[in-house]
Symmetry: C2
Subunit: 102 residues, 2 copies
C-alpha cells in the first residue's frame, strides 16, 4: 500500500504525538484520547488521517480497536530527507551516539 500524503499527516501536533505514543505500545482509541484535550471523535478522525497516510495500522479485538504505528509508512519521510546532505552529517553523528549506548 502506498502512502498518498504522509507529509500532511505530520502537520498536526496531535497526530505527531499519537505516532509517538503508538510507537512504544499498542493502544485503544479511548486510551489514546485520554492523552489529549480533544474529544474521542477528534482522535478517531486523526487516526483516520494517519491510517490513510499509511502511518498506522489497527486490529480489532472484541469491541476494542488497537492501533500501532506502521513503520513502513515512515520510510517515505526518511527517504525524502535523504536527499539533503545534512542527512549524512546528522546520521553519522546520531549513529555514533546510538552505538555508544549499547
Amino acid at each position: 500500500m502506498i502512502a498518498p500524503n504522509a507529509y500532511g499527516a505530520l502537520a498536526d501536533p496531535t497526530r505527531r504525538e499519537i505516532l509517538h505514543l503508538l510507537g512504544s505500545e499498542e493502544m485503544s482509541v479511548s486510551a489514546l484520547a485520554a492523552h489529549f484535550p480533544v474529544t474521542r471523535p477528534a482522535v478517531s478522525q486523526h487516526l483516520g488521517v494517519l491510517r490513510e497516510a499509511g502511518l498506522v495500522d489497527n486490529r480489532k479485538k472484541g469491541r476494542t480497536r488497537y492501533y500501532k504505528t506502521r513503520q513502513e509508512g515512515l520510510t517515505e519521510l526518511i527517504d525524502w530527507l535523504a536527499y539533503f546532505d545534512v542527512f549524512w552529517d546528522r546520521k553519522l553523528n546520531a549513529l555514533e551516539r546510538y552505538l555508544d549506548k549499547r
Copy 2:
C-alpha cells in the same frame, strides 16, 4: 533560531519541491516560480512559510533575492524521525551502501 513549524511547511507539495530545487543550487524567486504552475506571488508566499520554518535562507544581490535550503532546519525533522526504530534500520542500510562505495 528555532523552527516553530517545520512539519507544516512540508505539508504542501510545492514547498517540498522548492526545497529540493534549492538543495542543489541557489535560485531567485522568479527562476523558482518558472518551475511551477502557480504565480510568482504564490511562490513568494511559500518561501515565506519555509523561511519562518527555518528551512530556507536568502541573500539579496541587487534587486534579486537568492534562496537556498537552510540545512539546520531539517535537523528537527530528522531528530523527530529518530524516535522510530525504522529510522535506524534505514539508516544502517543506507550507511552500509554508502560505505561500500568507497
